[in-house]
Amino acid sequence: MAGASSHSQEVRPAILDEVNPVDIPRQACVDNNRSFNWITEKICGIIEEKTPTWWWVCFIIACATASFTFIGLGYLVVTGVGVWGLANPVNWGWAIVNFVFWIGIGHAGTLISAILCLLRQKWRTSINRAAEAMTIFAVVCAGLFPVFHVGRVWFALYPGYLFPFPNANGIWPNFRSALLWDVFAVSTYGTVSVLFWYIGLIPDFATVRDRAKTKFRKIAYGIVAMGWRGSNRHWSNYEMLYLILAGLSTPLVLSVHTIVSFDFAISLVPGWHTTIFPPYFVAGAIFSGFGMVITLMLPLRAIYGLQDLITQYHIDCMTKIILATGTMVGYAYGMEFFIAAYGANDFEIFAFVNRAFGNYAWAYWIMISCNVISPQFFWFKSIRENTTLVWVISLFVNVGMWFERFVITVTSLSRDFLPSSWGYYSPTVVDIFTYLGTFGLFSVLFLLFLRFVPLMAMAEIKAVTPQADPHHAHTHKAGSGDYVNN
């Protein structure tokens, strides 16, 4: 404010009179001039309406699928880790592949909520809530694998497989191990994501509380709304906190997949030990996460009629990010190959030739076609505007990123330094069902989220509409721009 007032006293530079911007209108984040009240009604309506039948159908199917995971893990606990397909030389198999896959999925949520917030990308507001929910549920799915791979899970907590407690001999966990860094990274990531999500939810919970018709809803949402009343003195601290959390989550999300990449990169295994791994993993994670965001949001948009809130502009932005990160991943694949050839290390060269033409070539080419080639379709506007095709490509992205982790983990191990111990890894039925079940678990959590939590950040969406700008109202109030209610 002080800046603005001192401005007017200065001499106005002459060039400003020549300024005459070309008209390329920005695409609105909310289509059809929807009013504040329309936004509230639309989003609160989703959790206030009677539970729809399709929800129950999906929920039951999801629960049934999730049971695969629990049966698989239960069987593992009572029998032993041998029920998984791990055997020399491939001692890291589907468990870590699934772990990295799910953690990666989560990254888009944090990217949308944190990095795009810092970059002031207004379009994030319609999708950040769901994407953050996706992050948390993905971390839950991811966390199952490292916790259960120890077999005797009760030792995970004490004495410290996963937490810094000394064991019976007084020995502490080894902090030189990347696996322990992972524990800290993932648990910090999970915790901060939940906190960030919850802080974003407080004003929306207050809205739901104020609209609640039944005593039970009033009390339940009242408790979680923390007595929020929309005071501007509160907003002032709240917005600062939100910005700080965005600022903290940005290095956090980068560090999480960096540390996940350290699991591989600090070793000496050919194909794993390469310095580009940290940014390459981060780009891949964001890539896969946006794939999942699109996979989830496009059906929701159709079911709930959210076309005015998730507009073609949002889809454009997301597909372009997929294109950009997919290309970055392609850059990293290229660099790895180039440096393997340039580095003139026989083992390194073999590892990469083997990836492309060896026993797992099929996985490698699935990865390349899904991750590098399929996103290139998003160069074309006509494809970005075809919702069905966008959705199908997003599925390819998900598949491709799972295969990327599979290729990295398994190809290098199955052909290590000693040819006499070479082998071929195949998952067992338990592996497959445990993994498939995590999709059920994820869906169960996501469906619960749809029923009980506002799907979109109402306060934030309202704040990015044109009528929320206090300077906007002067010029447009009298005109045709009266905002429609329905």
């Binding site: 009240n37 000394p166 020995i171 800290f184 910090t188 007595g227 003195r233 560090s255 704040a463 206090p470």
Partner: protein, 176 residues
């Protein structure tokens, strides 16, 4: 009027509430507030609020987290039970960095959130503003401003006419 909390005025648009807030600020009131369904850009300036203090909590939390990480790793692996693994030094800031970094962020996040709650005096489930029947509008699409009766400048009649001079769409009393 001991049971009167203050006077509440309702506005229709962000621009109206912003101008009203500027006038209340300039009139020198101390105990007053604006209630909006979303943060309005520039309202902090219009109310004359200072930059938030939350970052100070963050710095304290972050520093604590980093020191905790480094000293924990030193204590566990290089002091309490020395283990030599992989030819690596007993302690090095390099391998201690990832964990200390994560703890820096974890502690900063908790400190900032706790800081926000302390500064905002939340959770506070009872407040006069939540008691009005307009509460549903407050978190939906209307904008409110109130001046508390505890304000040193407050006067039942004068303040009310001052508020009416701000051109609100509606003025009402708030119960304690």
């Amino acid at each position: 009027m001991a049971d009167k909390f203050g006077i509440l005025a309702k506005f229709d648009t962000p621009a109206d509430i912003m101008h009203a807030a500027e006038k209340v600020r300039d009139a020198g009131f101390k105990r007053w507030d604006v209630i909006t369904p979303f943060p309005i850009h520039g309202m902090d300036g219009a109310m004359g609020l200072k930059r938030s203090w939350v970052p100070r909590f963050t710095i304290v939390g972050g520093t604590t987290g980093f020191i905790t990480g480094m000293s924990m790793i030193f204590f566990t692996n290089a002091f309490d039970y020395k283990i030599l693994i992989g030819g690596k030094p007993l302690f090095s800031p390099y391998f201690a960095f990832p964990v200390s970094y994560e703890l820096t962020i974890l502690f900063s996040a908790f400190a900032s959130i706790i800081g926000m709650f302390i500064l905002n005096k939340l959770p506070m489930h009872y407040h006069s503003a939540l008691k009005t029947e307009k509460v549903a509008e407050m978190s939906d699409d209307k904008f409110f401003l109130y001046i508390e009766s505890e304000d040193p400048q407050y006067d039942d009649v004068k303040t009310r006419s001052f508020i009416e001079g701000l051109h609100p769409v509606e003025v009402s009393d708030m119960e304690k």
